[in-house]
């Protein structure tokens, strides 16, 4: 898991579903600098699987995918 201090932007997408979890994550990353880190919070398993895969397909580095509790996930990604 990325150190809190290394997170450049956080996106709370709880309540959002695919594909918009990825769309909104992608929009956030587009305005960030290469090397910066985005943390995305989602609350469904489908997004927890799809968002990292789609981010990876775009060439970004997935730092971690962590299940926080019963339904919430944290995805940490570094912009390529």
């Amino acid at each position: 898991m990325a150190d809190e201090a290394l997170i450049d932007k956080e996106l709370n997408l709880q309540g959002e579903v695919c594909p918009y979890t990825f769309v909104k994550s992608k929009l956030a990353l587009e305005m960030m600098q290469p090397g910066q880190v985005l943390r995305v919070l989602v609350d469904n398993d489908e997004s927890a699987a799809n968002v990292p895969r789609s981010m990876q397909n775009e060439g970004h580095d997935i730092i971690g995918v962590t299940k926080l509790n019963e339904k919430n996930w944290q995805i940490t990604v570094r912009k390529s």
Partner: protein, 293 residues
Amino acid sequence: MAAETLAKLARLHAPISELDFSEEEIRRYSRHIVLPEVGGVGQKQINRASALVVGAGGLGSPVAFYLAAAGVGTIGIVDNDVVDTSNLQRQILHHTASIGRKKVESARETLLALNPNLDIVPYDVRLNSTNILAILKEYDVVVEGSDNFPTKFLVNDACVMTGTPVSMAGIFRFSGQILTVIPGQGPCYRCLIPQPPPPGAIPSCQEAGVLGAMAGAVGVIQATEVLKIILGKGELLSGRFLLFDALQMRFEPIEVKRNPECPVCSERPSITELIDYDLACEIPPSATSPSSR
């Protein structure tokens, strides 16, 4: 490339500093945004772009439909005709209830029903050497979808003179031809056809017929070219004249080069002012359609 063309393309591709989409826009354009070649930045480029569609007929209908769906922020529509029953076989912007209405008004209503976020500007005029430049200067890119050679040559010449990228196309029976003109970079329409054919030499669609769905396919290719110009992505039909034979279902790109003797886009052009050619045949406004509707 001509300085005017570079300026137009630079405006289209200027940096985007903010991706301030509404929730509705994120959903509407999500299938674009997820494309690596488009993304939020490309979608914003599309949203701030302006396109002029010449003709609201068989080509202009699919072009305008897809540009509106894509979110091209300002779409100008030029047509001085009214909707006729015989248009409805291919001119999908218009409906049976639109018969007798001005095409630009019918088109505007249809496009805003699809995407109310846009500015649709109707021009209920026939383009000529007097009015075209004032209209053209408001737009980044042009689509030629008129039904007559005088307009095609006028639009080509005006776009070359102003450095405006333009998608040219023609349709006839089961076949279509498409060329993207990037002035100063690739060949223009006159590089291929220096002068309009003599009036009456080529039968009109009204006389010869045209497959509506084929016109739609050609228009969709034109819309695709416009979006690629706006995005600055991919390879354009610049220097490639695409021939489409719908009956045999064959696409054949023909390599074409700039004509060093081109009367309008060469180093020493013989045409330096816009020309109003005579229409091949005068057609009453309610019974349109020679070679490109």
